[in-house]
Every structure is written in structure tokens, then in C-alpha cells.
Symmetry: C2
Subunit: 469 residues, 2 copies
Amino acid sequence: VDAFFDPNGVAVIGASTRPGKIGHEVLRTLVGSGYAGGIYPVNPAAASQEILGKRCYARLSELPGRVDLAVIVVGAESVPATIEECAAAGVRAAVIISGGFKEMGEAGAVLERRTVEAAQKGGLRLIGPNCIGISSSSSRLETFFQPREMMARPGPGPIAVMSQSGTFGATMLEWLAGENLGVSKFVSYGNRSDVDEVDLAGYLARDDSTGLMIFYIEGLGRPRRFFELAREVGRRKPVLMLKGGRTRLGAAAAASHTGSVAGDYASFLGVMAQCGVVLAADAEELLDLAKLFALVPLPAGGRVMMVTNGAGPCVIASDVISTSRSLSLARLGHEGSDRLKRELPPFCVVGNPVDLTGSADARSFAQALEVLAADPSVDVLMPVLVFQDAPLGLSAGELEGVMAAVRKTGKPVVAVAGGGPFTREHALHLQGAGVPVFPTATRAVTALDGFVRHALWRQQSGQTGSPKL
Amino acid sequence: VDAFFDPNGVAVIGASTRPGKIGHEVLRTLVGSGYAGGIYPVNPAAASQEILGKRCYARLSELPGRVDLAVIVVGAESVPATIEECAAAGVRAAVIISGGFKEMGEAGAVLERRTVEAAQKGGLRLIGPNCIGISSSSSRLETFFQPREMMARPGPGPIAVMSQSGTFGATMLEWLAGENLGVSKFVSYGNRSDVDEVDLAGYLARDDSTGLMIFYIEGLGRPRRFFELAREVGRRKPVLMLKGGRTRLGAAAAASHTGSVAGDYASFLGVMAQCGVVLAADAEELLDLAKLFALVPLPAGGRVMMVTNGAGPCVIASDVISTSRSLSLARLGHEGSDRLKRELPPFCVVGNPVDLTGSADARSFAQALEVLAADPSVDVLMPVLVFQDAPLGLSAGELEGVMAAVRKTGKPVVAVAGGGPFTREHALHLQGAGVPVFPTATRAVTALDGFVRHALWRQQSGQTGSPKL
């Protein structure tokens, strides 16, 4: 599998001279990616021409340099023969972008089997078909047909994104980029004709640049082996997952999307929980979980303490905490409670939340958070911030320092702040300082519930502390 | 209640000379709001000074012009006397921003009762206390202490936002602004000492600028009367609602937030459904519902047809539709199905979704949508758009025209597109053309479920067509 992520030379088979064509855009992305190895467009119709500054070849056998990886964008019917050519030319791995296989029914499934047989005979590994490609931050390789101006790329970081759906993968990459969270490896694996979740998780387990794995799956190639692997790997590198095809209708849609066969979701959920895999209910929850895992240490427990300058979202948060599986509202000890009542202005309400009211500035938060962080009955600190209120908005620049001080206590700090450009700007600053910020209390608390369940799973399996990202 | 939204003169009692202070920021917002009536700062400590270009007066009795509305930002203990002064000066309505009342326990509750008694004796109506103020697009009045540079304002439009929580209200205003959706009236009513949901809904029912009402409530002042009113008004102006304090813990948080008493949520849900009120589970769902109601006509039923250039989100959508209450996957008739198979390229999958694959451009969508819109077994069209894919991304500018043509068929078109800046830009263009766009399939389908339930409620109560917004 290494040949996919750190190849010595890449060929784009089916490279096109016409901008907008998938065979052109893949090459454009690759040429602009910063990948340092050789890049070779292959297409008999454009032989000897230059495409995007690279000489195009009629066939693989004519290339002047070594090629480990082929990116294939030719029509489905030509793919089996192309794989045979790849094998003959010593190519070790192929990413098949083209669709028209198992997702199309029986005729496509036959074509897919022939492709896989050709690869097995030739000693090649395959990703796809019917996918959007891969990326690797270590080799700076990218094989997407999504142009940079249409799809933002995240910088390098600890999160590996593995997605059976290219669309889901593209969206997740852009969301992570928008949150300034970095990605180590990306794989869209579509129909999963060869390389599957077990191969990928096994590779990522050994990959130093990866500390956390996100999977979007519609079915698992080798479920039993994946469960074993996830349980083992998950102690060092958390595995987060969203599953499509949880219902009969969803499973039918999955069959015509990637040709996947989905099993019973309830039993799937149970097994995954035993393996410490954190399952998200939807794409945004998966993003939220990734943000938590990437930014904050696992808490010792689920007792959440809120502090706010606008308590409305804390009412909703209390509702969601009530119906969560692992969270509860922390009750402040007498000492902390007395100290806050003494030190805070008289109009503040000292409960959970500690309501500093709209007059609070960054210093009020510093004062309260110091006391709350020291309280042994608090596992997670949740500031609910209204940057729109002038007193906090004017002092928002000081919040990063406040949060940095609180983070030193080792307790996770998870913030809520919903709003427009001003709020988002300050939220990103806080995230830069290691405090994840969520747009609503519901999303913060829902993600926290999965996060704390993973922490408890680790404790039950005898692990202490947080995995190193 | 009219005096709040279209007052002849406004006094800010407790106006401050110091930027950042709530009494200063309220005045700054008001002065910059475009409100055409007289604006009078009142504060004995700053008497005869100018604040933000307005002469400050020591007391209400000295004002040179008529004042219908007072915005009060003085300390809680001074509020009852201030209300008496207001009454003596002929003020008809007061927005009390100050906190320190019922939310603080018994002493505050006494103060609040004295305030209300003073108002009743003097013939004043009250909004608040413990709120962030009001706005009215018709008179351009705004009384927030949230500065414009910290809180984006939506333009004028048909949505009225009524929120017991100021924080929730501020977030919702900014989200609506970000979606280019307009607001008619905004009220943050905090502790609801006097003007309540019945007063507000009754006023909005008669307000020509309002076509749709959003409520965030923690408790209802007069539940039975509100239910009756909602049932009656909801036929013309849909009522959307989020309720905080649905659980024991949430209700306790609500009590210390706005002093509200929450009832049993399950029976509340049942009554609301009977009245056609659409209840959201969280703030984002409420936004999503508002977007649907503001932009598209009610569908005849819940049969959803998807068309896409990247089918992953359709798998998730199918899962959510499966567990929805009012939606199902449309099954295309033979005629439409045959036509699509004949007209679309052979690698397209004609099912639900119609998968145009990553090679699809705006014209492919036009071709498919024309057929799907004409099919009698389809109630709602749901294009799932991957703007990141070069063929669609390059032709994205043509989509507005495509959607405008489809909208003429009268069937709601509800799109999904998740991603970064490029996707958001095109999503906003589509929304400008009347097609709501959601970042995930889950959010689109979840909101659609509530939307269709409201459509069915209207049908059951003998209403046809959509309310006029």
C-alpha cells in the first residue's frame, strides 16, 4: 500500500488536453501539488504533445522514468487492458477514478472482476474504481479532479480521511481546511475492488504522520478483521466513523452507489462500541468529533461545567446532556461555589452554568474558569461565548491567553459560539490556541458524548491518558 | 404593542458616555440604525453632555419631544422607579435590557413584580427584563447592545424572530444574514414580565411585513391561548419553534436563565403538532426550516426525488428519509425513467438518485430535472450538487437559470451542497434564485420532514397552496 502514498513516479492514463475534462484536471492537480517525483501523462491521442508542461506519451512502455503509481481515467471498458499494461510496465499501484463498474449492475461487475484479476495477476494493488483519488501530506501527492479553486485543501496534520464516497471526502476535506485542521492521508476508495478498510487502517496504524482516522463507509470488506484491527489500533489512534446504508432504503442506495452490501446497523453499532470506534450520526457530527479528538485531551469523565455571558444555549445544552449516554452536569463543590459568589459581581448566577451575564468580559471568564478548572468535580469546561456582546467582543483578543492558561490544568476546554464573521474569526483564533469551538450547544454536547464514551472505553481497556496525535 | 415597533421618539435611560458599556452601545446602535424619530439619551450623571451627537438629559420630564418607547439599561433596583417616571412622561412602552430580576431568585422576583405593577398602573407595556432588545425593519429601529461590527444584521424580509434568549436571537439574526434571508421584526423578551408570546404572535398576525414566525421559548406565558392563536394564525403565517427546557435538567437551567417554568415536553409536542406549529430539535434545524419556508412553496406530498453528480450524500439521505415521519423516496414512472435512460449518457444510473456521475455539468442537471419535475410521482426535487467537481464547477453559473426553469413547475427544489468558499458562493447564488441549499443531506431531509408535515397539516385543515410570504 506504501506505493500509493510515496510513489516513485506517477502516470496519468487518459490525460486530456481539454480543461474541464477529468483527465485534464487530475493532471493539473498533480502538477500543482508539489509532488517531487516524475509525472507522466499517457494518451495515444495526445502523444508527443505537451499537457500542462509535461510531455504526453502514447503508452506506458514508452515512459523514460520509473512509475510506481498509475492514475486511471480511461473509460471502464478499457480499464482491464490498461491494468495489464501497468503490470507489464512494473507499476505497483493504480488509482482508478473511472466509474462504470459494480455500481452499474451485472455488466459493470464483470468488468470490475476482470480488472481485479488483471491486477492480482500483475502484482498491482488497486484503489477504486469510481473514486476521486488520494492525497498524502508527506509526499505532497494529490490526484483529485477537483481543482484547487473549487475545492480548498487542508494543510498537513494528524487526521487521515478514508471515504468510500468521493463527495463526502471532498466536503470533509474542505470543512477541515475551514477549521484549520490538518490531514495526513486522504483516500477515496469508491467500489473498494481491492484495497479495503483493513488495508487502509493497517497502513495508517504504522504511518507516523497519522494520529486519528476518519472513515466514511457504506459496507466493510472484511468486517471481522476490521473490528479486530480497530480495537487494537484504536488504543493508539482513535477511529471515527460514519456509516451510510443504515436502513433498507439507504442500503439500496449504497448498492447503486458503490455496489456495497450493508449489514444490520444495530449489531454493527454494538460491535463498533466494543471496539472503541466512535460512530457519528451524520457528517457534521463526524467533523465535530474530529475537531475534539484533534485538539483536546480525553477527559477523566463526563461531568460538564458551563460558564457563559449568555445562558440560552446552556438550557439547550442541559437538555442534550440529559439525554446523552456519558455526560452529566457538574455540581460545583462548596469551596469553588463560595469563592465564585465572593469574587464575581452580585448579578452573576453561580450554578451550572455560571452565568456571568452580558456585562462579562474576557477577565470575568478568566476569573471563573480558574476556579472551575481547579474544582475536582469538573471533568470538562464548556465556555459558552457571546462574542456579539460588546464587553466580551471588545476584550475577545485576551481570550486566547485565558484559554491557554486554563488548558494547562489538563482539563479539556470545549467552547460554544454561534454567529457571523466576527464570531467565526474569534472562534478560529481560539481553535488555534487549542480550544475547539462549536456553532451550537447541541453540536458541542453531542460530539462530547462520543468523545467521553471513547475515554471511558480506553479506561475500561486499561489505557490512561490521551493518545498522542 | 405597536408602540414598540413604530414609536414616536425613543429614550435610552441609563445611556453612558463610555464605549463598551451596555448603556453606550444601545445608544450607538440606535443612532446608527436609520430610525427617523427623536433619540434621547437620559442619565443625570451625563446631563447636558453630548453622547454620540445626541444631547443627554438628566430626566425624562425634561425631554423636548414626545417619547413612546424607553429602552432601560439602569441597575435592576432602579427599574421600578424608572417605570413610574416613564408613565408620568407619557411613555407607552419600555424595553428593559437590565438583568437582576426573576432569574436571580426571590429578591429579583419581588423587584420584577414591582416593575410590572408600576407599568400596569402607568399604562405601559414591557418587554424584558433581561433581554437584548428589539428591531423593526419597517421603522428601522434597533435597540441592541451588540455593535454592528460584532453582530451582522439581516436585511428586511418576511421572517419574524421572537426569542426568549438573547444569545439564541443574536445567533439566529447572524445566521439569517449569512443566508441572505430577511427579517421583519425581532424581539428578545427575556423574563417575559409582561409582553408574552400571545401578544407577539397576535401582533405579528396583523403585521404586513411578517409572513413567517420563529420562536425560541423556554416556557409559554399563556399556553392555551397561544395554542389557539397558533392554530388560527399558522394557516396564513407558519409558526416555527425551538423549545429549551425539554428535560428536568434543561428546565432547571431555564428557571435560572429566564425564570421560566417548563411543562412536559411530550404533551407539548403533541399539542403543537395539532396546531401546525413546526418544532425544531435544535437551532440549526430551526434555521433550516426557516430557509425552506421562506424560499419554497409547500409540496403536495413527501415523495423526494434526488439527482446528483456525487451520490454519497444520497445514501445518507435515504437513511434519513427511511426514519422520517412524512417522507419517502419517489419512484420514477416508466415514461420518465425510459426517457432518462434514452437521453442521459450510458454510465448514468437512473434510479433514486438519478446519478449523473462526476462528469455531469449544469446541462446534465437541466436535462434530468426537466424530466423529473414533470413526473407526477415526484413531490420534491432534491439536487445533490458537487460544485468541487470540475465539470459542474465550471458550468455552475448556468445552474441559476436551470433552477429558475424548474421552479416554474411549482414543485419545491431543495438542494444539498457541502464544502468550502467556492461551494458556499454558488450555494448563495442558488438561494438568491429561490433554491435553498443545505450543507448536508441530513439537514436538508430533516428540515424537509417538518416542512412536509406542515403541508399535510394544512391539507388536513382544508387549506390549499402555500401561505403568501
